[in-house]
Amino acid sequence: MRVLRQAFSVAYKDLSIELRTKESLNAAGAFAIAILLLLSFVFDPFSDVVREMSGGLLWLVFAFSGALIFNRGFSRELPNECLDALLASPLSPASLLIGKAGGIFVTLLPVEFVSLFVFGIFYNVRWWLHPAELAGIFVLATWGIAIVGAVFGALTVNLRLRELMLPVIIYPLLIPLLIGAIEVTNSLIANHPITAYEWLWARVLLVFDIVMTALASVLAETILVN
């Protein structure tokens, strides 16, 4: 309980900074819309095929724009030795990591919602046919991206080649999660009936989130205390 309370304080701090500066939010939102625009030149945006591959397009956009958010998560603590101050505070490393992931999660969700809205307009796709299921998948997959992003953002924060290493490490790790999110989102947006196959992928997302969050909590000290 104490860990969660501390994590909430860290997330609240990050979100307050983000709401004041809006640096990640604006950049990630603009980047997401730019990718959606670029993708419209790759194929016919009004073709029926778009509905079948909506999940792929959307999660590609979310994963890339998410990188802008989790890249900032820990690097914003570098000036004025803020990271050292956070580590020296009574916060537990696990709560710091989970709090950072919480901040990324809450920042990424509105970017996803705006992208989904814009996607619906640009590509003439009715994405709201299964709102509750879609929201559930977005929450599960976004938490997965956020926790992995926070862990590897922390892991690479002091590296000389941080900008190069982060995508090289993070995207292969996210692939199982992204495949699951894409498969279920494709079915939901195409209005296919939800079968055992979609539930299997939803369970994969849930297990991925639990395993990654547990590993992040256990390894938080190793990752943060360098």
Binding site: V151, L161, V168, P172, P176, F208, L215, L219
Partner: protein
């Protein structure tokens, strides 16, 4: 002592491999459905098994490094991952050759193949991360953490043929199916070749670990010289 052990293990591996090649090409008949190409599976699947064992050994070594802080576990983990990566590549290449003949394509995006490729990408990232960090303690701690996270994908690779419908064949080995999917003569050669490849991997790890320890020693001497 370690050199003598490497030589003995290499000699046993060479003898086993020669015996297995003789059995594969001169004793065993062609497979009824696949013809002669099935023989590549005597290298394809054992290479995958050796690779996966390597990743799990590296996982154990990474946990041991984080628990005890001894650099020898870190060196050993890095060596094991390099060798496991090489065996995973053998697995992918031999699998592609088999697929070209049997399926008519080099590659298909099913879950087994995709997760195996992702596994290679993750552990290539591990090696890149090690090269990107100069400070030995930081390098060891962070690469151990990455190894632990990366092993989640190894479990997905292992179980993917049971969890999902794939173009890749399902489990055929006795210890996963309870027997009956493979002729005992073929099964015997398969396990003997697995043993041979495991010995080759062990020899490579021993050689690589010695190189890694020497590199660490040179690095510490260099640091000492700079400090003086």
């Amino acid at each position: 002592m370690r050199e003598r052990l490497s030589i003995v293990l290499a000699a046993i591996a060479a003898l086993l491999l020669a015996n297995n090649l003789h059995a594969m090409f001169l004793s065993l008949p062609d497979e009824a459905m696949q013809g002669a190409i099935y023989r590549i599976l005597f290298f394809h699947a054992p290479a995958a098994m050796v690779g996966m064992i390597g990743y799990f050994v590296a996982l154990t070594l990474s946990i041991m490094y984080l628990s005890f802080g001894d650099f020898k576990y870190d060196s050993l983990a890095a060596s094991v991952i390099e060798v496991a990566l090489a065996f995973s590549l053998v697995n992918i290449v031999t699998g592609s050759i088999w697929a070209r003949i049997i399926w008519g394509i080099w590659w298909t995006w099913d879950y087994r193949l995709t997760s195996a490729l992702v596994c290679i990408l993750i552990f290539s990232g591990y090696l890149m991360l090690r090269r990107a960090i100069d400070e030995p303690t930081q390098r060891a701690r962070l690469s151990s953490a990455l190894c632990i996270f990366g092993c989640v994908d190894v479990v997905i690779v292992w179980k993917s043929i049971e969890w999902f419908r794939n173009q890749h064949p399902g489990p055929v080995l006795d210890f996963r199916t309870g027997g009956g999917r493979m002729d005992p003569a073929m099964s015997h050669v398969f396990y003997m070749n697995f043993l041979a490849l495991l010995l080759v991997a062990t020899v490579l790890v021993l050689i690589r670990t010695r190189q890694e320890s020497t590199a660490r020693e040179i690095d510490s001497l260099r640091r000492l010289a700079h400090a003086a």
